[in-house]
Symmetry: C2
Subunit: 161 residues, 2 copies
């Protein structure tokens, strides 16, 4: 187990480029695509400011975080034409956290997308050394990233939140 990323230049979620992957933004929280998705649409919700743990958020911050997550989920459900999804948060290395900047995984699910419904989860942990979740997992190309982010932004813009 390598050391988790910390705040500052080494934290991929503190990097300004992360906004290129954002498709929804709400009160200091961003919904971004995972550039090495375990399944199509795999996304993350993160605070813009570096926060290591959800336990340190105050009530208002927690509400903003989770309302962003709920709305990001609705956008993803619309975009992927499903009502099935998984959410997960890992905190600390013992729990499988690789990047020590609070992030919630959202994975849209489709019927028979994997042999067993739980098969996506170990993939998140295949490795924990690369930026934004993955090196062994295939990364999206620049073009793929632009297409998916553009599509999700369009769905988000059409939402009546």
């Amino acid at each position: 187990m390598t050391e988790p990323y910390t705040a500052g230049s080494q934290c991929p979620f503190c990097h300004p480029d992360v906004r290129d992957y954002a498709f929804y933004e709400n009160r200091g929280y961003l919904a971004i695509i995972n550039i090495a998705p375990v399944l199509p649409g795999h996304s993350l919700v993160i605070p813009e400011l570096h926060r290591a743990s959800l336990t340190v958020l105050n009530t208002d911050e927690m509400c903003a975080f989770m309302e962003t997550a709920r709305k990001a989920t609705i956008i993803l459900m619309k975009a992927f034409d499903t009502d099935a999804f998984d959410w997960s948060v890992q905190e600390k290395a013992e729990a499988g956290q690789s990047i020590e900047h609070l992030h919630l995984h959202i994975v849209p699910r489709l019927k028979n997308d994997l042999d067993k419904p739980g098969d996506w989860y170990p993939l998140v942990h295949v490795n924990d050394e690369e930026l934004i979740d993955g090196f062994n997992r295939r990364r999206l190309s620049l073009q793929e990233k632009e297409i998916i982010v553009g599509r999700l932004r369009k769905v988000a813009d059409a939402m009546e939140f």
Copy 2:
């Protein structure tokens, strides 16, 4: 895959006995122990009223749900002397949901509690036919349930939320 439980007498989370397993309560949401835990302290946060999906909650309900979850996590971290945990939500059978009443899993984690950090997750899906997550998994005895609920309630009562 069997049909998920629906509201009413068949929904284990709508059963009044569920309150016996509650260690924290906040604005219509309960934190309860999982009676067939994948690891010690495995708990669930549920709405008292039957809700199938977090996407149908309004902003205020979502805040209450997640603030309850955040505080339940703090209670569990204190009780199990750790700062590591996993959260997960599954919605719909495609995602591994077995009981169709919104529930968020909280699993306190300790160093080397499992071979790999992600190993807890498949255990949640070992079977999906029994009440409150599990038949093949060992269920807590009545005495064990009383001990853990009592301990968590005591920690909760001492919190300055």
